[in-house]
Amino acid sequence: MNKNLLSINDLSREEIESILVTAAKDFLELPKRDIKKVPTLRGRTVIDLFYEKSTRTSTSFELAGKRLSADVINVKADSSAMGKGESLKDTVLTLNAYGPDIIVIRHPHVGAPAFIARYTDAHVINAGDGKGGHPTQCLLDIFSLKQEYGELDGLKVAMVGDILHSRVARSNIAGFRKMGMEVTLIAPPPLLPRGVESLGAEVAYSLDALAGVDVVYLLRMQKERHGDSGMIPSLREYIARYCVGRRHISGDQRVLHPGPINRGVEIEAELADSGENLILQQVEAGLAVRMAIMYRIIVDSAAASAEALEAGAAGEDRADADIKNIRAVG
């Protein structure tokens, strides 16, 4: 892994597979044990910096950090200087002074994780940046699909709903395609971004297109982002045409949703409660995958810097390296 996880595009297919192996092998079974904690990140500090309200993602990251034995600090938008007009740069410089190992950031603006990475030595993990991306969601979705299907190559996925406002759609289209899956987007034109062709997915306007797919991925309707004039004629009309229920789902199709769900808007209550959906598996996967990401982001970079140190110490720089080591200890 690179120093930071800012976008799903930071990871190669091999790196994604390797993270998922770590998640499955080391962390997935942990919740079933009596002792749910491992000492992997003991003595490390993780700051969860959340500028948007989020229950599931922040809970998932907090628990992941704690189960890795890290010291986890939650900084929420309404409980810090953020509400007092302090700039993001200054907030991060201040947090950086505490020497965190990882900063997990959720922010309403695209590119905020890359922005703060300029001002901190910590590893930065993007937990959702505006409409930009949500790479850890993408990884946990790939993980859930892998657990369910085994082989991902050639798997057909339909993503349904409010594509325009969805960072999950953006990350998942890229991530799913990277893993060899085919993606179809199903939404009315106002909820598709102009230039959608460049995302590399097929586009359909009707749920009829669900017929040919293996996986149905539902997106939350983000009414709060639709503005005053609204983007669709009415929610009632939207529901009549795009709310997915059991009758739309055939035999072995599986349903995913990143949550939180709007029952009766994008998903009918009956489907939300049925065995065809993997929504709770996604939550479990989220914990294991986020533990794997935090573990790997620290371990991989430690390995990389140890390698660099070895390479340096082997040559004439040995004395210098030794001095640096002594200083680091002192």
Partner: protein
């Protein structure tokens, strides 16, 4: 006095030897000497010895051009002197080869009445090293609802009216402004944007915005407004200048309105001519401005329209912003980039050297055309004219280094570019306004 400059310093007396005089309006393209006496061009032609007091500047065949005129700059005074003021903004202009700039009225307070304009003119008379022409606001406080004191502003010296920074949303108010401007014979400079279409966008709407997840500003937000605004201008027989054209679709509308008899000038910025929305991928706020960088097809259409004459002016839309205001995530950053100190070198290197635009077209679009559009003194290399010229080096390559800017701000999209066309000397209104060290 329509365009003001500080009357400080002595008028230049010198001989510029072996310069490549290039003034398309005068039909001048020759290597010879220019003798300046007390700020006037006294003689053109091989001269014996130095000038009267012997001051000789060896140009070694470098280009001597009519000084540039920028129809669109934000000098931020009054109100944001931390970002720019008349002294720093005109020093920046001079170092870019400009001898005159048109300052926008979207300041704090807004230049919507004679008192504000008067004090700006007095400030320019004390501080400006190049001529500054001021535009007055169209609407009171830029509120888009009531006309400003347009006639008083004209009497006080405004050269045009604009609400730039904002469009004039109301067609009715725009029409009223055209009619009021007719009495004083001044043009309107229009920032054409339908804000219900640009909505809360941050960059061009297209494939890149879809991938980044940024709300887009579609081209139709510009073209729909250009169409409406020019329709009203044609109807009223008004003179109008279209600011910062960014979309291919606007060009046909401008041509069609000209065909219907309207007097229209228009400008493109160096950034819209040289950059596309691909540059926004890195989310560097130095590439955020309004109108936004468009698609590559639009960019090419602008270049062709500059070469073909549809676009007749280069305006930088020099918009200084404090460092901390741009040091934020892209969506939080204000719109605007600076351009006075990089315009000629960037355009020369990218468009003239590559053969897309003839040098004479670029020089005319940077000098005579904007001067005529806003009634400013025409910079001309001719005997008996006041010296308004710049000497540029088109051989030596150099790096654009924002730390060396004279502007108070650094928000350029061209940092680090390797270019030719460095300005060595600028003489504005007969005085040396800028001189590169060791010239």
């Amino acid at each position: 006095m329509k365009a003001t400059i500080a009357k400080k310093g002595t008028k230049a007396t010198m001989t510029i030897r072996d310069a490549h005089l290039f003034d398309p309006v005068q039909g001048l393209d020759t290597v010879t000497d220019v003798v300046l006496e007390k700020g006037m061009i006294a003689r053109i032609g091989k001269s014996a010895g130095g000038g009267k007091d012997g001051r000789v500047l060896k140009a070694d065949g470098r280009l001597l051009l009519p000084g540039f005129v920028d129809p669109h700059v934000h000098l931020r005074a009054p109100g944001r002197e931390d970002e720019e003021d008349i002294a720093s903004g005109t020093r920046a202009a001079a170092s870019g080869g400009y001898v005159a700039v048109c300052a926008m009225p979207n300041t704090d307070p807004v230049a919507d009445n004679a008192a504000v304009l008067q004090s700006l003119i007095e400030q320019a008379e004390a501080e400006a090293v190049v001529r500054v022409a001021f535009m007055g606001a169209i609407s009171h406080g830029l509120d888009g609802e009531r006309l400003s004191d347009m006639w008083d502003l004209a009497d006080a010296g405004a050269v045009a009216f604009t609400d730039d920074g904002s469009p004039v949303d109301s067609g009715g108010l725009l029409r009223a402004a055209f009619r009021a401007a007719e009495l004083v014979g001044l043009p309107l400079s229009l920032h054409c944007e339908d804000r219900t279409l640009s909505d809360r966008g941050h960059m061009n709407e297209g494939g890149v915005s879809a991938e980044l997840g940024l709300a887009g500003i579609p081209c139709v937000a510009e073209t729909a407004a250009v169409a409406r605004d020019l329709d009203i201008a044609v109807f009223e027989g008004a003179r109008v200048h279209v600011a910062h054209v960014s979309c291919a679709g606007s060009l046909g509308i401008i041509r069609a309105a000209r065909d219907r008899g309207a007097t229209i000038t228009c400008e493109a910025t160096p950034h819209h001519l040289l950059l596309s929305d691909e540059a926004v991928r890195g989310l560097d706020t130095g590439f955020k401005m309004n109108p936004p960088l468009r698609g590559e097809d639009d960019r090419r259409a602008l270049v062709a329209a500059l070469a073909g004459g549809t676009i007749d002016c280069i305006g930088t839309d020099h918009a200084p912003h404090a460092g901390q205001e741009k040091e934020v995530p892209f969506e939080e950053a204000p719109f605007g980039v600076i351009g006075l100190e990089t315009a000629f070198a960037m355009l020369y290197t990218e468009l003239v050297e590559d053969g897309d635009v003839p040098l004479e077209t670029l020089v005319t679009a940077m000098s005579a055309n904007p001067a005529r559009a806003f009634g400013l003194p025409l910079p001309a290399i001719a005997e008996g004219e006041e010296a308004n010229l710049c000497l540029v080096d088109t051989e030596q390559e150099f790096n654009i280094e924002p730390d060396r800017f004279r502007s108070k701000s650094r928000n350029t999209p061209f940092a680090g570019r390797r270019v030719k066309g460095q300005v060595r000397l600028t003489i504005a209104a007969g005085r040396v306004a800028f001189r590169e060290e060791n010239v």
